[in-house]
């Protein structure tokens, strides 16, 4: 037997890419897809493979780099989260028409729930929109296997192929057998063909025609045809499922003793749905239930509104993740079993919060001090959690903090009373989509303060490098782009850089920036301090200022509400009206020394020195 290893779904995907001979892999981090590229880099190092693996500045760029790689005949892959695909949708639509030369796999990870995303959008619908095939794995093991299948389809039909895992596939772990890695490396060879690779609209019409022919052929491709998993089962009823919903359904049918009775089909390729399968289902069954996440992609291709039940018929909820307990209810109802409620009401868990010692917390506290009645636009990243401090009013999508700040400014321009506007954006997000928005704000002389939260890393998704970090996906050193020069290059005149841990000075600087922005247009403050998690991982030491709470504390709760550090403990109903510091959580950042209006936080005198 070959080597069995415990692999995260995303690691299994990476392994599948490598075992399929992928030599160009790109990505922009985003939950639940982030670990794919990191795992490609891991296997690349482990096996000493010669290939190109990189974090790109955003998903569109990641897509285009990988796509050009496949135009030279290589096997390439790009991975991202579902909303990242929105950013990359421009090249996707066009690449579908032009087709490919080598092999091209696009992995777009969906997040039903949503657990860590802005939307529950279904990437499979995006594949349908772009007219490319999409595969829907039910487990890490199948995800790995489908990488091989995806490249086969891609090269056979000369089309990009999407693989759409969901959070439960990406973030599950399974014991998986590792296979061999192909030894022979293909050589890059770009064959010029402007009629295809630079097609004008007239040729695009022809390409569109070819694309439709490809799709019709893929809908007949036997390897990816839906499978009836319980061959002996016979009934007027049938259940069709794909992705992790199929895995849940399988266990539930067995447990309900329906496995030998109700035909169960697993769809591997939701689009294009196999034409013979559509015929077979409509001919053989009176009553069909389709279970899929998160939209009715399979269901809408089974064009019989009387027999087919699913999301369109409101049999399956259109909103939220399809957990196994939900599926058990739906299946029981469909079969006509005694309907029992399996979903339980649970107490809400803890809300996420910025880490103790996070430099963002200091920045947000300072922003509220400097512009107390301001409008605070923000962006995608850990700092979205500035919400908890009341320092984030809007979060739309990557880069929108800056353009929304501009929108608010223009909306209030003719009003007598204009609010101060402070936008916050992370370093990685600024590179990703903030730069064009800042150029626009300079041109339009938008009066606002932009605070770039530069913690030297892409923190939320697991500390991937940014263009300013100086290291790449495999740990190799890279060139760097300096944020301050970039901001200057965008035409901003007011640029300051400061450490938010120096809270008093930082507040003063922000006040200056706010005053400047009222008359002169954009002011940018780069709030620079490394992420605490990143520092811990790098084993970097910092300056530690142990703090204790003095008798001055009267339990007013100001620090709890406005600073919201998890290391500060206060129970309103407790007898003793006093804030305590949790010694396990406190990082001794010392920022709270300047937070209490009564000065109740004081430096611990005895415990000078360092903390582990």
């Amino acid at each position: 037997m070959s080597k069995r290893r415990l692999l995260l779904g995303n690691e299994a995907i990476a392994r599948g890419l490598i075992e399929s001979g992928c030599t160009i892999a790109t990505s922009y981090p985003g939950t639940p897809a982030s670990e794919i590229l990191a795992a490609v880099a891991y296997f690349q190092n482990e096996e000493s493979l010669s290939m190109h693996t990189q974090w790109a500045v955003n998903e569109k760029i990641a897509f285009e780099i990988a796509y050009a790689g496949c135009q030279t005949g290589l096997r390439a892959a790009v991975s991202m989260k579902q909303v990242g695909l929105n950013v990359a949708s421009d090249p996707l639509m066009s690449a579908a028409y032009m087709g490919i030369n080598g092999g091209f796999v696009l992995i777009s990870a969906d997040d039903p729930g949503p657990h860590s995303s802005q939307t529950e959008q279904d990437s499979r619908l995006m594949a349908m929109f772009a007219k490319i095939p999409v595969l829907d794995p039910d487990s890490p093991r199948q995800a790995k296997e489908l990488m091989r299948v995806a490249y086969e389809i891609s090269e056979l039909f000369k089309t990009p192929v999407m693989v759409r895992p969901t959070t439960r596939v990406c973030h599950s772990r399974q014991d998986i057998s590792l296979g061999p890695i192909p030894k022979n490396k293909r050589q890059a060879k770009f064959e010029k063909n402007p009629a295809r690779w630079a097609a004008t609209p007239k040729f695009r019409l022809q390409l569109h025609r070819e694309l439709e022919e490809k799709l019709a052929a893929i809908a007949k491709y036997r390897q990816t045809a839906p499978k009836k998993l319980n061959r002996k089962a016979k009934s007027d009823k049938a259940i069709i499922a794909s992705g992790v919903a199929a895995a849940h359904t399988k266990d539930i049918l067995k447990e309900l003793k329906l496995w030998s009775k109700i035909p169960f089909y697993q769809v591997i390729q939701p689009f294009p749905l196999h034409s013979k399968f559509i015929e077979h289902i409509i001919k053989s069954h009176e009553d069909v239930l389709v279970i899929e996440e998160t939209m009715g992609v399979i269901e809408m291709q089974l064009a019989d509104r009387y027999r087919v039940k699913g999301k369109l018929s409101n049999t399956v909820p259109r909103v939220g993740e399809l957990g196994p307990e939900k599926i058990q209810e739906i299946v029981s109802e469909f079969i006509g079993l005694r309907s029992e409620a399996f979903t339980i009401k649970t107490a809400p868990g803890r809300r996420p919060t910025l880490c103790p010692g996070c430099p963002h917390r200091a920045s947000f506290f300072a922003i509220k001090k400097a512009a107390p009645r301001g409008i605070y636009t923000s962006d995608i990243g850990c700092y979205t959690l500035g919400l908890n401090l009341g320092a984030v009013d809007t979060v739309l999508c990557m880069g929108a903090a800056i353009s929304q700040a501009a929108g608010f400014y223009h909306a209030y321009k003719t009003e007598k009373k204009r609010p101060d506007i402070v936008a916050t954006i992370g370093d990685s997000t600024f590179f990703h989509a903030g730069v064009p928005a800042l150029i626009d704000a300079v041109v339009q002389k938008v009066g606002f303060v932009l605070v770039i939260l530069d913690n030297r890393t892409t923190a939320m998704t697991g500390n991937q490098p940014t263009p300013a970090t100086g290291s790449g996906a495999c740990g190799e050193s890279t060139e760097t782009v300096d944020i301050e020069s970039l901001v200057r290059g965008c035409g901003v005149k007011f640029i300051r850089e400061s450490n938010p841990y120096e809270l008093t000075e930082f507040i003063a600087l922000l006040k200056e920036a706010v005053r400047y922005s009222r008359k002169n247009g954009p002011a940018v403050v780069i709030s620079r301090y490394p992420c605490v998690l990143h520092r811990a991982r790098q084993g970097e030491a910092g300056e530690y200022i142990p703090v204790e709470v003095s008798e001055t504390c009267d339990g007013c709760g100001y620090c709890i509400k406005h600073f919201e550090c998890p290391a500060l403990i206060y129970h309103e109903n407790a007898e003793e009206k006093h804030v305590r510091i949790d010694p396990i959580l406190c990082t001794s950042c010392g920022v709270c020394l300047n937070v209490c209006p009564k000065g109740a936080f004081v430096e611990k005198k005895s415990a000078a020195g360092s903390k582990e």
Partner: protein, 189 residues
Amino acid sequence: MSKTVKQQILISGVGGQGVLFVTGLLAEAAINKGLPVFTSETHGMAQRGGTVVSHFKVGDFSSPLIRPFKADGLLVLKDENIAQHGSFLRKGGWAVVNSGNDLKIEKTLTASGVDADKLAQEISNPKSVNLIVLGYALARAGQKAGNGINLFCSLSEIKKVLRKGFGNRKPLLEASIRALEAGYKAFKK
């Protein structure tokens, strides 16, 4: 242990407590025994101090998630999480809860608490709550009668995983084993 072993364990805590680490140890132990294993984790924003939960399954399963009232066992690293995850436990299932207070689990008679926060302070390793709770559960698994529970792996099998995982990082390994044993001994007391 035979191939027919089938166990579902829910591990619940908050970000930073090492829920994923414990899940990984159990999973590696299962692999070493040649058992199929399937786990499901929380990543991303929820990890930032929010509730973190892992679903752990050993045996023949297609679905990575545990349904309510189906878990054989529950490891709870923060007692407030019982309100959120207590109802995953099946009738007769077991739970080990990090708690300094009296436990409020009604559904089962096999729940027990261990004050892992206090023990962690005692061994000067405040971040080892996860291993202490696991150690305690392993001790209970070693018991045949009374408060004993059915767990697919043993203390020595988990130690083996730690040894392999930490390799030459001796101080980390020693601290981890000490925490695991502190939990294990807490049950014996």
